[in-house]
Each structure stands twice: as C-alpha cells, then as structure tokens.
Subunit: 251 residues, 6 copies
C-alpha cells in the first residue's frame, strides 16, 4: 500500500496490523550521458512500489532530494545540505513516530546520502536518549531506524557482477541506469561515451573538482551496457533484497 494513495482510515487500520513503514529516499543529480537525473530516487521508489503491491507493507512518499553537492557542476542537480536533510528526516520520523510507527526503514538509492542519513538517525536518537532520565529509566518509546541501500543488496550485486563485472563502477552505473529505464522505458537514452569505462576516483570534493575528475559525470562505470531487460532483473532482485532486509529489521 502506498501512503500517498491511502486514506487516513486505511493508515489507521494498517497500524493495527503493523507499525513498520518503508520510506524511499533518493537524489536529483546528474547520472552521466545516458542516465536520468532522477535515477537515485526512481530506483528505490520502483522497488518500494513493487514490494508494496505484492506485500502488506506501507510505502511512504519518496524523498526526491538528497545530498548531491559534488554533482552541482552538472546542470539539473539539486542538492540539500546535510544540515537540511537532517532536519527533513527528523521531522519525517517525528511525524511517523507520533502516529505509532516503530520501525522506519529508509530504502536508499544514493551513496552520497548514507553519512547524512545515519547522522540524522543519531540526531533523532540523541533527543530521545537525553529525555530518558526524566522518564524513570524506561526507553523513550520503541523506535527503530535503519537504512538499506538497494544497490548493496546481495541479489542485485550478483546480477551486476555477472552482467558488468568491473564496468559496474560507482556512479551512473549500468545497474541503476537499467533499473530506472525499466521503471520508465519511455526515457531510455542513447549517448556515445568515451572511454567505455569511466575513470575512477574519490567524490569527496567540491563540484568543479569533481567535474574535472569525471568530465561526463560517470565514475568508473560503463552505462552504455544498460538496457530495460537488465533493469527488470534488478527490479525483481531489489524487491527480494529489500523485503528480506525489511523482514529482518522488523524482527
């Protein structure tokens, strides 16, 4: 069930059955010559929506903006500062916990979000921990938070290795491009890329340094290998990987 397509009474009924929720989180940033700006949001959203159709799991609205400062030298990138994203996640979790959700599972599509999302969890928990003394020695409610990166799932990793080997790379990867195309086949792009496999390096730098290191936006990847059919396999694998992680998280 998608939260956006439910009524509040349906959410109320869901909370009787389960207090877990999956929240897709991505980014809006360049993904090389044939990758979509929305790739990092589209991938976890597509996985989450498929999962929510097949299983009784509530799927929250997608956080389309993430921490993408290193991509700002490429048009179309929209980045939240970490301090902003922390506040967004704090308000999101506060609202969900207010309704009685106890297990919030962020399904993430962007490596650049990982540090900030974990810092946000610590920010949220800091407040709760400091209030516990006045609560007489009991934990401040039951709130579990976790982050799962779809692109780190075992099944998806195996397919990527099989299909692309070292040409999977680190950004604008053929696996994520494929998955975004499976979600939006009308958006498949053709683009010449040279070299076939992009250079590797670190992304922990300012935007212009990043663009000097990675002139067309790709990092160590060969997304010309991407296709819709691959994307369908990644979608299926992603659903299985995420479901497994979500079930482990709930228990």
């Amino acid at each position: 069930m998608r939260l956006q397509l439910a009524t509040w009474q349906e959410v109320e009924a869901y909370l009787q059955r389960s207090t877990g929720i999956i929240m897709p989180i991505g980014s809006t940033e360049q993904h090389g010559p044939n990758g979509l700006v929305g790739t990092d949001a589209i991938c976890p959203e597509a996985i989450a929506w498929a999962l929510g159709e097949r299983h009784d799991v509530l799927i929250g609205p997608t956080q389309n903006l993430g921490m993408a400062q290193h991509h700002l030298a490429f048009p179309g990138t929209v980045s939240l500062r970490p301090s902003t994203l922390i506040e967004v996640l704090r308000d999101t979790v506060s609202s969900l916990a207010h309704h009685g959700f106890t297990h919030v599972f962020f399904l993430n599509g962007h490596g650049g979000n990982i540090a900030t999302v974990n810092a946000a969890f610590a920010e949220i928990l800091s407040e709760r921990s400091l209030s516990e003394r006045s609560l007489g020695g009991q934990p401040n409610g039951d709130l579990q938070l976790t982050l799962f990166n779809w692109f780190m799932g075992r099944r998806g990793r195996e397919i990527a290795k099989e299909l692309y080997g070292d040409a999977e790379g680190g950004h604008a990867t053929p696996s994520e491009v494929s998955l975004s195309w499976a979600a939006y086949p009308e958006a498949v792009k053709e683009a010449a890329m040279s070299p076939h496999v992009a250079p590797e390096g670190s992304a922990q730098c300012d935007a212009l340094t990043f663009r000097k290191r990675f002139p067309d936006g790709r990092m160590g990847s060969a997304p010309s290998l991407a296709c819709v059919e691959h994307g369908q396999r990644f979608l299926e694998a992603g659903v299985e990987d995420a479901l497994e992680a979500y079930r482990a998280f709930l228990s």
Copy 2:
C-alpha cells in the same frame, strides 16, 4: 520535460532555450474519508506533468512533504516544520540558480504551504539583497520566484463553483479529490460521510484542536461529490491556469 527523466545534457540544452522551471510542491496529510493522503502533492504533480508533456517547460521533482502540523492527529500525516521547509526551498533554489535558472515557479497544492513558501522566498532574497552593496550597485543576478496555487486558478474555480457550489469547502474538497482520482483511478475510495457537508472553521490551531473541530478531517466540504470525470476537467483547467500564470511570470 520532466527533470527526473532527463539527462544533464538535456537540461544543459534546455537552459539555452529557457531559464524557467516549474516545481510542484504539495503535502502528505489526511484528506478526509475518501481523499488520498497524497492529494496535495498528486494534484500539482499531475498538472505539471501534463503541462510538461504538451509544452517545452521543464518540470522539477515534486516536494512531497509540506507544512501539515494541524493534520498530525490523523494517521499518515507527515509534516515539515516551517523552518525545515524554508531550508529545503533555500537549497532547492540555490541549486537551480547555480545552474542559471532565473524563473522558479512553484506550483502548489496545499494552502498550508503558502505562508512558509513566501517566507522562504524572503529568506532567499534577504541573503541576495544584503550582498548587493559589495556588488557595486547591481542586482545580485536575475532571480524571480513565485508561487501559484492550482486550486486558485480561475478556470478551476469556475468548474468547482459550477459543480459543487458551497460544498467545495476548504480542505478535502471535491475538486482536489476528483483531480487526484483522475491521476490515480485505481485509488478511488468509497466512504460514507456525515454530515454531507463538513463543518467550517479555522485551521490555525494545534492538531488535537483541529481534530475536535473537524472530526473526519474535512473542512466545509462534501467530497462524496468527487468523481474521476470531474477530475479530468480539473486537470485540463489546471494545465491552462498554470500555463497562463507561468507565461505571465516569464514575461
């Protein structure tokens, strides 16, 4: 063209033709017994996507979360504090201005966002104004910001008046419910509501007071009048209203 479905090179090419962009912004909040939690995001998104398909206008990713504190006593509502939403909009506009966008048109679906979005504009412009002295008396770039509420468009207003008269109300209105159903016909809900037209009142209060005033979440409205066909009319009207406003904004 949707930014999420474009490559950065396509955005670069678009910026040669136009420096305007439409950013849908909504909310995730209860919309009464038959309205969707995502209504306020779905409506401007549906209008923007249709507009972007028919005209050469870039449509940014939807801001799904808005200022919805007064709805927090209904399960499913996720609210950003105004201070958080201001930071989100500041980072969003900073990123867009960085790429050379000069006209950012927020297409809004939620009355509760209006004050905060305008405060965010003032926050962004404050920083620019204070930096102008050191720029030798020239305006700090060309940046125009505006907010357009789809539900205030002339064409849409006329249809709502014709179809519902006073039963349109102020929240969980039959017009927005219809439009969201037109976008997601699979999510049409049936729900008994009593009284037919909900009570009226002010929403400037805390969440529990709001729920006491508006027990099923509706404000002055009769959304049982909603239907998909109405929604299609609102969608068409919304595209025309928004396009007219956007063109006036650009010139």
Copy 3:
C-alpha cells in the same frame, strides 16, 4: 494597559480577568519621500495604545523590526530575515503562554510580515502538536494565535477609498503616512513627488530590483495626499477595527 508601564503584580491581576494580549508588530523601512521609516511600527502601536487606554486590554511591547529585505537599497531600512523573526515570535509566544496567556493577537502594520508571522504560528504549533501524543490525547494547552493587519480593517479601508481612491496604493500609502503623522505631528514632512501616483508592481524581488522598479520607494501610492487630520480618522477607525477583531478572536 501597556505591559511596559505595568508592574508584574498588575499583570498577575490582569490574568485573573483576561488571558488575551495585543502585540503590535511593525517594520523599520523606507516609506517614500514623506513617510517615516518607522511608519509600520508606529501605526499599529498608536492604535494599540489608544485601544489599551479605552478598554481593559493588555498591550505588549512593539516589535519594531520586521521582514523588510526588499527595502534594503534605501538607507535606514533594518530587516530581520524570516528565520530570525520566526525565532523572535516563538520566544515571545513561549513566554506569554508560560504566564498563562491563551489568546495572542498580533496587530500588524506591514504586509511584508504576513507570511513570516503565519509561518511562525505554524512553527510554534508544530512543536505543540508533536507533543500531544505523550499528553494522552488532550490538546497541548489552549493557545490561540492570530494576525490582524490594521490596514485591512473594514472601517479604515472605507476611509482610504473615500479619501484617496486608487491613489492609496500598496506601500507608503497616504493612509499609513497620515496615521503615523497623527501619532507624531512633529514629524510631518514636506516632499515633492513625481509622478503624483507612483508605479505599481511586485515587491517579491531583491532590494536593487525593487529600487529600480520603485525609485523613490512608493508603490502605487500618492502620499502627498496625507495629512494629520486624515490620520486621526484612521486612528479612530483602526481602534474600532482592531477591537472588533480582537473581541471576535477572544470568543
């Protein structure tokens, strides 16, 4: 009764009779060639003080600074960023609520404050709403907040229409200049203005753009029509308009 001229015991006694308070809020910004920089603070303050002398209503200290970024290209303007003003209002209301005030009525003299003041109300209420779950389903105290713009009062509007018609305009209006002069007759200014009625346009822009659009600071107004006698009429009308709104707010 003015809070600034009362003792704490007098406030304590007042709280036994009433838990409402009127807080004047204005701005410090240019008001054209013959308008005072303090106009937006002086007008609501004068109305509030007169109201407080005639009726048993407590009048708080005036917030002299508001959101005036668009006027910063004119010397003398002092502007608070929206984020700062939100914090000021949050602390103000927190203090008042701490003492048991339940109805805080902001009497505003500046259109540029409206969005930020309403965002501040939402910021304050967000915190209260999120704390309600732990309070066992009861509203978090009784706190009502409202904003009343003296220049939108029915009586004042009618006088302005009668006296100035379309020459009232939007900023540095003859009505507010008159009212400020009635409060401080020693500060009446003479200044030649051309054209008689200033150009119209939008104020949602940076400071230098604003000054290009409105070279002498007026927006659509002809404040050379202002005089002390008019101001006395606006003062009387303002007291009636504000009192009516305040009484409606209390009940």
Copy 4:
C-alpha cells in the same frame, strides 16, 4: 534624530555627515513591586531620545525584548533566548553596515543582555574575519561595535551612590525605577515592600530558583526610594555619560 521619525532621504543625508548610530536595547521583565515591566527598555530609550534631540546623532528603534529567562516566573516577562537575540543583532548590524554605518553603539538598559550582546558582536565579526583572506589582506570594511550600559556611567553611578548608597542594589534599582518614572510620570506606582532592602544573590539560575531567592523580584535594592525628580537627574546624567562614551567610540 530618531530613525523611526525620519525619511530615508534624511537618513541618506545624515550618512554624509556621520556614519555612527545609537541603538537602544532593553528587556521586558519584572522590576519588583513598583518598577515597570518595560524599565530596561524605557531607560536607554529615554536617554537616547533626549541625546538625539540635543545632538546630531541618529537614534535607531528600541529593541524592547532582551535575555530575561531568570525573570520568567514573574508574569509579564518576555524573554528571548541568547541564540535568538544573537540573530536579531546580526540582522540589525548587517542592515546598518549595508547602508554604510561604521559605528554602531548599543545603549543598553539590562545587565542580562551584556554577555549575549558581546557574543553577538563576536558572531558578526567571525563572519567578517573569515572572509578577509579572499579580500587580499584588507580588513573587511570598517565596522566598530560597542555596548554601553547606561547604569554603569560615571555620572549616574555617583548620583545613585549619593542618593541610595548600598540600597541601590542590582535589579529593580531605585535609579532605574526613578528614570523610567521620569519618562512616564503617569506610571508611577505605590507599593509596600518588605524588607526595605531586598536580599542579594546570584541571578545565574532558572526562573523558579530566582523567584525563591528573590520573592518580590528585587535584588538587593530598595526601589521605594525612587521618585520622578531623581529620575530627571538620572536622565541628565545618562545623556552626558552616553554622549561622552559615544564620542570616544567615534574617535
């Protein structure tokens, strides 16, 4: 000249003659049984206004709210957190520096503001210092900030010693009560107080602890000694003390 009663052209002309300004800053807090809640704002305002009438010095609007957390257990106190007051002062100074003011002289009426105002100065200067490297080794403009406490002026101190000796005390002092009454003779209060001289102690504590230490709000003072005539002497002394300090600051 009072900024609030000037036009922007008058400010523009003043800036040709001087780039200094006096900004009164006070607090809104209990001042014992016969002291006014507004005492700390009224005193520096009265001094500044008299000074501005007699000398060509621009007087800005009064900051009526200060840091008064320790007085919050007495009705009528309105306190800004230090973090809020720092932002208010930052925006105030930014606006003034934007217009070319180089010497901003805060005339303070409240001991509880001193730490925060000096922290605000450091906050403002931190930003300027960190930007200097990119400015090629030149100081970032000419901006001088200072705080002068009227109640620490030599002339005023001597009168207080002469009139009250040790009964001057530390809060709700007869000198400040007298000065506020000289400014507003209509607000003179009669109140029995026991003991004649209030107990002494530290104010660095929370509000309820403060009230336990100082049950009627006075700290070490005997404000029953206050009278309007004394206040007139303090006003004259305050003008001389402030003028001397301001002139030393400018040079």
Copy 5:
C-alpha cells in the same frame, strides 16, 4: 610538531613546507568495566603525537567530544549532537583553510563519529560548491578532507586478529583499551567481567535500549585481554598505518 605547543611564527614557517595537518578526533564515553571514558580520544591523540614527534607533520588539538548518544545511559558519557559536531568541524576547517591549509586529515578513534564527520565534510563542501559559479568556473580553492579511523588500519587489524581473534569485538575492544593504557599506564584498571566475551548487536538505538543490550557497556569484546604491552604494539602499528594514509592523502 603539536600545534598547541607551537608559536604562530612556527606555524607560519610550517605552512611554507607543508599545507597538511592531522586533527585527532575522539569521544568521551564509557568503555566497559576496564576501559577509560577517554579511550576514543586518547588513542588517536597518542598515535598523532608520536607521529608528529617523528615526522614533520603538524598535529592539531584533539576534539575530545564526539557523537556518543547511545552511551548516555552510562555515567561519564558526554555527547555532542550530530548537528553540533558538524558546526564544530565546519568552524575548524574554515579556520584552517583561512590560514592556507589544504589537506585536513582527521584521525578518528570512534566509530560513532564516522557518519557525522562525513556529513560535516559534505556540509563544508556544499558551501564551497555553491559559490563556484560566481568564481568563473574555477574550483573554490584547494581543500581536501579525509577521515582515517586508526582502528581500521591494516597493521593494527592484523595485530588485533592475532592477539584476540573474534574477542576483539566492536566497542571497548581489547585493542583500544590496550592502546589507551600504553598512553596512560597509571590508569590501568582491573575489573571482573562476565561473560568473557560480551554480546553483539546493533548500536543504532537510544541509550536505555543500548544499555539493555549491553549491560556493562562492552559490545562483542573481551577487554580483559588488554595489557600495556599490547598497547605499545598498537601504538607503533597505528603510527605506521596513519602515516601511510596521510602520505597517500597528500599526494
């Protein structure tokens, strides 16, 4: 060379030879029955000081407080919220970059800091990236930031595996306890622990939940195996690991 023991002229001279600096960062938190509260700060500090004595590398002051919210149910833990630590690191790096340092190498002793430190790097770089457009297409200075966890160094890992195998665990590990004791042999503690190897689990929770999971503060470790002699080996290995990483970072 330790910054704290140098004069500014010595720093000036150093900057002619190198623009790199090592900044130790730790935490103040419980480390089980025989581990020191300062372990996480002591370990990187000891390594950095030894490295700075043997090589021409400047060592900055130690950041003694880190993100330790999950340890707050154990007395002595002092935790910074992530938002606070981000500001501390932002100011630290701003100051260093102001002096011309280009390579800032944080030598970390606490796993709980990793996410927040990386978020802080992104916060710092966001500001720099957004300013680059106005700099004409050149990167905003040369600023490289990295985080190295001494406990992840290859040499140290190998020793820990050799000495403790699986009993190394995740918190209050025998390796860190040993290293802290090598730095402060006078602080070696004796304490009975049961079970020998502590339980494992996740630390992403509030403080009371953490204490329920890990009653004596250890996570998966057997720090009764620690001794000073081991600590001396970890110190030597830590210097080599950090030096290697620092040299790779500079080039």
Copy 6:
C-alpha cells in the same frame, strides 16, 4: 580524578560522593612570539589536573577550541563561532545533567570566551525555565553553572603584579606564558620582541584590524619576562584560587 582516565563505574561511584565537576575550557590561538598556540587551554588544564590529583574532584575533558575570531589573521588560530560554542556547551551540560551532575564549574583560560560561555548558560537555563510551568511550580532540577577565569584569581593576580607590574598586559601575558611553560618545559621558546611592552587597545574588532593594532599578537604585555619557575608559582596559585572558588560554588 580525570574523567578521561576513569571508568564509568568510577564515575558512578564518584556521583555518590559528589555531583560537582570541573570542566577546563580554553582556546587555540596565537599568543605572540614566544607564547604557545595552546596556552589558553593548557593553563586551565594544568591547574585542573593538579587540583584533581590532590583533591577528590572530577575533572572533565578540556574544550580546546574557543571563540578566537580576532586572532584569525595569525596562522594556527582555530576559532569557534559563538553560536557553535553555545551548542557545544549546551550538549556538554545536557549530558552531565543527565547523569546527575548538579554543579558544573567551567575553569576558563581565555577572556574571549567569557561572553559566549555566559550566553550559553542563559541558553541552557532558558529551556529549563520555560519548562517549569508544566512541572507544577517546582524548579527544573538542581543545576548550577559557573565560570571561573584562572587569570582572575586573587593569588595569581598578586603574583603577576609582583613579578610584572603593568607589563602583565592583556593577551600573551607573561603569567600565562609562564604557566604553559611550566606544564610543557620542552616547549619553552626564545624570541626577540620589540617593543618590550606591546601596545594596548581593544580586541573587539575583525582579525585584520586586530593584527594592525597588535602586529606580533601581544596586547600590552611583555612575555619575554616569562619563565618556567614563574609558571610553577602560577600553577600553585591557580590550584588554590580554583579550589577556593569551586568550594564556594558547591556550597
């Protein structure tokens, strides 16, 4: 007992005997030609450590960074903005109060910290005061905060006067240089200085203005008079001064 060298059980046991703690706080900033960058942190730390060895007082970790913006034009200075330092102190005190500490005594080595530390105390107490209404009229716990500047202690002042007279000055004083050398005799520096006694002036300015006023970093001092033997006297005096102040604070 030093917190950094204690186990959590030792802290738990200490809290049974005492709920007071001494927290050294300093700065990292230039101290003239022969003074150490870490002087302001080293001095209170050395005093606190000696005190903690001789008496049963818990000594917390040293806050090495303070508010040092005016020294930023000298290499090696690292400054926290006041807003950052306030957050650091807020989190520090929150953590300590959470464990039951009631008397937090900051032993300070830097004049530039005084305003900000006191503002931080007010920030912390503001939050506590505003929560007291809901606590039924009882103070919000027992929390006492104080700041003691070692360089203002009576015994130390007397020695400085005896040894240096007016050549003690205000920054990079012979007393603090001596004390830091007593703590680290290996760091004694030789440096020619001219004039013997540095010029005097105000430090409330930006960094480049400061450096113009004080070209070698000294303010009114003659630190060439410093020596280790003097430092040992200051250390002994500092321990006595701090202990006396701490005992007075506890009672």
